[in-house]
Symmetry: C2
Amino acid sequence: MSTKAIVLLSGGLDSATVLAIANAQQYACYTLSFDYGQRHQFELNAARKIAAQFNVVQHLTLKVDLRKIGGSALTADIPVPKGEGAPDAGGSIPVTYVPARNTIFLSLALGWAEALGAFDIFIGVNALDYSGYPDCRPEFINAFERMANVATKAGLAHSRFKIHAPLIRMSKAEIIQKGVELGVDYRLTQSCYDPPSEGIACGFCDSCQLRKRGFRQAGIPDPTIYQSPEEIDHAG
Amino acid sequence: MSTKAIVLLSGGLDSATVLAIANAQQYACYTLSFDYGQRHQFELNAARKIAAQFNVVQHLTLKVDLRKIGGSALTADIPVPKGEGAPDAGGSIPVTYVPARNTIFLSLALGWAEALGAFDIFIGVNALDYSGYPDCRPEFINAFERMANVATKAGLAHSRFKIHAPLIRMSKAEIIQKGVELGVDYRLTQSCYDPPSEGIACGFCDSCQLRKRGFRQAGIPDPTIYQSPEEIDHAG
């Protein structure tokens, strides 16, 4: 029987690649998505399709209402920034940061892992093209792992919870190259923070810009359908 | 303006006492309860009443479906142990342990704290009369606090998230004495894991037994209404 792993699967490019990596490492994969009141709910459908493509053991979507907590453009009534200056400008943390999001997601993954008897949790954080989010850095991953091993019954008994962040030091281009190598169908993935409709990306938010640049730098055609700038002007 | 604090409020004896302590320390209190699919849903009403008694700034009940994760007698179809041998027997962790529960709850409190601009989070964990749960120990609280300060935008900027666990080294009797001193109305609190009806405690579960013993040792009359053993026999 293969070793079980939980893979956090948002439906985006990074987490789809992480699933492909965990799958290639022969883990029996359990994928976990969160319905947290995000503007970009379509990503939950993307996650389901990606999980199905990789034939995971179980895919679970958990509802956690982060809107009630607020504090982010992704969950509250704060506009998502578009265009120049949106992505990782000047090292400041953008308004799309969701307070403690990866801490909350990893905590729920930890609970499921313990209930399933799994010790391996995969997350697609990335410390390079990462928009400056504090919970995407190696320091955070290490601190969470240490905490997990004192927080749980299974951690106390075995002390071997491991948070795998295989993308943490990869560029977006390297991630895309790796994913293509492992058979990820990036048409199924959704990165846009503010998609105008299902399957269409705005092309202007932080996340769209990082994605576009990644494909360009990887020298791989970008399968994403972006809304044209004209349409944005008319919708204005 | 007083300093804001988040207080985790389950509706039980311990967290009500913690709220009284935070309140006495002049914090502007924001209380947080979780509807996590627990058997003992009545405790959510208890939490509301306690929050109202202490006139908190805001009381928030967040829904997090831990039933989907399972792994505990409190959320899954595993019977709650009753009678002899139920409480802290032999140091093993009982089936009422909910995988990663305090990690999940503190993570959500951390998110709300960050959104509110608060740095102080109060939790009623207790390392003595604690049923052997790993996430009630000082080691866990310290590890979580360290993690919180690298996980968040506010933590990075100020590095002063503090997890307050004022009961951690107190006996149940000392907690009750403290609470009575600070005006907690323990009739409003609910400890029972498996209450037969609202306002009635089973009297036999782990949590009821710790509560009974606490009042006895504190020399304070226990205001709890326990179901009589006869009724249990007849209901059996």
